[in-house]
Amino acid sequence: MVVVAQLVERWLVVPDVAGSSPVIHPMDVASSPVLSSTDLERDTTTDSRVAPDVPWQTIVWNDPVNLMSYVTHVFRSYFGYSKAEAERLMLQVHNDGRSVVATGPREEMERHTEAMHEYGLWATVDRAS
């Protein structure tokens, strides 16, 4: 128990492990190339003249924490995707770094993103290209 108490204590106070190397958030690492292209796209599309029915997307990004089986499980139970489709999307996240898991109206895509955040997945909202 002593061991457990010690390590648990280190949990909330950021331990030296994280402080010894520059803290890089996964957002910075994985999204930088994608971000720049998205920025270009957004410059031309975040325009009030764009038709309101232009669809939006919920994008799930790869992270080093979530288990492949859990991500598949979430895609199946939340979106109701078949096992095959859920696995295809999970592998896309894993191999390509991201996957568009839903497309539709903005509010709906935000609801999905919020749900993904509840599941502990890294999700963002963007306009469909």
Binding site: V4, W11, P64, L67, L121
Partner: protein, 156 residues
């Protein structure tokens, strides 16, 4: 740790030490997450950015609005998820096996992920190639992953 599927749910057997570990981690997690009710910006602790990711990384205004509309609800639901685990642990004695209904077990999963997200930040695990440090905290991280993996197996 032993996890077995049952007709109505999942049978979970944890050692007294595993139970205490989980209870302590969840209490600290609740504290961390609840701080979010008062403090909207995530500058303080990078672990929080993993629990509450930026939904619009290239649109600050939309990101802030998303945060405003979703944060309180997310905090509430994340706390409720971890509360399901705590409640199951509290309702059973140390040497007792826990039978968790399917619906409850579904709520265990995101709470376990969140614990791992915070631990990953503390352990400096930022990308797939980062090794899990060979220390106690790394062991806890891996143990939580095994627990979650077994639960998913039992539920699928």
């Amino acid at each position: 740790m032993r996890i077995e599927p049952e007709i109505t749910g999942v049978l979970i057997e944890l050692t007294p030490m595993e139970r205490r570990l989980l209870t302590t981690l969840l209490a600290q997690y609740d504290e961390l997450v609840h701080d979010q009710l008062d403090d909207g910006d995530l500058a303080g602790d990078p672990a929080l950015a993993r629990l509450f990711p930026n939904a619009y990384p290239d649109d600050e205004e939309a990101a802030a609005e998303f945060r405003r509309y979703t944060r309180d609800g997310l905090v509430e639901r994340k706390a409720a998820n971890s509360g399901r685990i705590s409640a199951a642990l509290m309702a059973s004695s140390d040497d007792e096996r826990i039978t968790v209904a399917r619906d409850d077990a579904e709520h265990w999963l995101p709470a376990l992920t969140d614990l791992r997200l915070v631990l990953a930040e503390r352990l400096g695990i930022h990308r797939d190639s980062d090794p899990i440090p060979a220390n106690e905290l790394g062991d806890v991280y891996e143990w939580l992953g095994e627990l979650q993996w077994a639960l998913v197996e039992a539920l699928d």
